[in-house]
Amino acid sequence: MNNGSNDENIIEVKGLAKNFNSLVAVDSVSFDVKAGEIFGFLGPNGAGKTTTINMLCTLLKPTSGGATVHGFDILTQKNEVRESIGLVFQDPSLDDKLTARENLEFHMVVYRVPRDVREKRAREVLDMVGLTRRADDYVETYSGGMKRRLEIARGLLHYPKVLFLDEPTIGLDPQTRNYIWDYIEELKKREGITIFLTTHYMEEAEHCDRIAIIDLGKIIALDTPEELKSEVGGDIVKLVTADDEKAEEEFKKKYPDIEMIPDPECLCFEVEKGEEFIPGFIRHFGVEILAINLHRPTLDDVFLKLTGKEIREEGADGLTNLRSFIKMSAQKARR
């Protein structure tokens, strides 16, 4: 999916770290992002994704290390960096009391988009996210999904080289999520810009050309989704039998080479080609099988394998709590 011809790095990060007092939010990460790719930052809440983005966008000063964005240093060339990037924050950052068009105008003036192209550019991006008809309504009348779309449109106005999307689909219903992904992919095609996004949704990370898996402030893996998944290994077969103990015994006898994966609810093991393995297996297995499940590796499994835990999927409340907690500690740290 890479644009092939262009392999230069648009973002280069070296040893970037951020501490909030004793809390190490980002622990010396280094990576490169290629021009024109969709680069994903995948990890649970509090892993340091937003902190990294905030540092790359010059909103936060790193404790140590540095980075360049579009060739500009994030420490010494803040304004150049700011002009090269578009940003969509996790939390809305629109002015509710202005119309969509006015929000866009504000942005274009601030980013010094030439007056003669402003109207056309606003029309373009509004059209792209399907908000043309509502352009002159106050933003306070918008739904969550519409606001997010408007923010993506706004992030594009000044022809940025890199678009940062911090959890672009958080808190949205699945249908809107799909829309947003359509826009993001269309964007890559139409504008040819690099997209750097964070997510904690595994299935969304599959849209990325490359992903970095981050946990506890460290990058623990970085590759294409396919490569990462192939590292996990083969397909996973889960069995529910009439008598698990007996089944386990028999399994170990019949397939001494295959290692069992400990699971309290079922028999679980990994094989190379699950769909070819199962028919023969069933024919020759002595214990009654009640249910059988074939599971292709997902990024979830990658994460599980790398960290020994699943990406936490809290409910909305837990999530909000956690976020406000992180914010609070960040604020405390600042004082």
Binding site: N3, L59, S93, H107, V110, H158
Partner: protein, 315 residues
């Protein structure tokens, strides 16, 4: 896969520092003003609140003075008018900085902070925005000065308006800067109004807006002298009330009697003066104009610098 790269207009990136600075001020100001103007409630209260102070409190206090035995007619409402003008500007200016806290809470501040506009120009834009709404309120309040039953401003006293407006602008700049300096660093919604009231009420009471700064205990006089706001109110009052009879002299005497006394020999005149009650003569303007101007300009400049520096450090 074929990708269409949109050509970036060359002029997007660039622009001199000054251009950027001015653009930032303009757009931040424009947005704050739009928000104020669209809020009907804010527009209405902006107009009514000063009138409530002036006429309800002013008339009440005027009556109180009569009860406490001043025989002479005191037009307290007139005296208070420039003070209310100052108060309106003071409170509107300082509390306009609340918008920074709102913007922080609702995320819009991030959009501004991450933009290539210099922080200093954002701060100045905010100050312009607050000063504009404050001066607008002052201007509305000035309209009533034209009523003949009130101060009776007319074409011949139009110079008063022309002098009052720049002074109002000056004060509002200084006071909005105070608000921005505090709002830029303070993050708590609950704390901002509390801190502001703690700071503003003494400043306001010691400014001479509500009572003359004469005949006060020594310690209080000292406080009023170091209060920059007292110089502001003094200027406003000096201009607005020039040539207006606010307080009649201590004793009311008939013209015939006054005629008689002025013609009397000096010895007799001295005796009469002794008989008259020793009322300190009310002064409309206490400080010389140049001193007030220097103090207010100096204060506004210092606060402007502080506000810009505080805002630049915000994260």
């Amino acid at each position: 896969m074929e990708s269409i790269t949109v050509e970036t207009p060359e002029r997007v990136i660039g622009g001199s520092g000054l251009q950027r600075f001015l653009t930032g001020i303009y757009i931040i100001w424009l947005r704050d003003f739009k928000r104020f103007w669209r809020d009907k409630i804010r527009r209405i209260t902006a107009f009514i609140q000063p009138l409530v102070y002036l006429f309800l409190l002013g008339t009440g206090l005027q009556a109180a003075f009569t009860v406490f035995g001043a025989e002479a007619e005191t037009k307290y409402v007139l005296f208070m008018y420039p003070g209310i003008l100052g108060m309106t500007i003071l409170f509107t200016s300082v509390f306009s900085a609340m918008s920074i806290l709102w913007d922080r809470e609702f995320g819009f501040l991030k959009e501004v902070l991450v933009s290539p506009v210099p922080r200093s120009s954002v701060a100045v834009g905010k100050i312009f925005g607050g000063a504009t709404t404050a001066c607008l309120q002052g201007a509305i309040l000035m309209v009533i000065a034209f009523f003949p039953w009130f101060l009776g401003f007319s074409l011949t006293t139009l110079w008063k308006v022309l002098m009052l407006i720049p002074i109002m602008i000056l004060i509002s700049f200084g006071m909005t800067s105070v608000g921005v300096a505090i709002g830029a660093r303070l993050k708590s919604f609950e704390a901002f109004p509390l801190l502001m009231n703690l700071l503003l009420l003494p400043l306001f009471f010691l400014s001479g807006a509500m009572f003359p700064l004469q005949g006060l205990p020594g310690w209080m006089t000292v406080l009023t002298r170091i209060n920059p706001l007292s110089y502001s109110v003094d200027m406003l009052r000096g201009i607005a009330l020039k040539g207006v009879q606010v307080v009649s002299t201590g004793v009311s005497i008939s013209p015939a009697l006054r005629d008689y006394i002025t013609k009397a020999p000096p010895a007799l005149r001295a005796e009469v003066a002794k008989l008259a009650p020793q009322v300190p003569k009310f002064q409309v303007q206490e400080y010389p104009m140049w001193l007030s101007l220097v103090v207010v300009i100096g204060f506004s400049l210092v606060m402007l610098v502080v506000a810009i520096r505080q805002f630049s450090r915000t994260e």
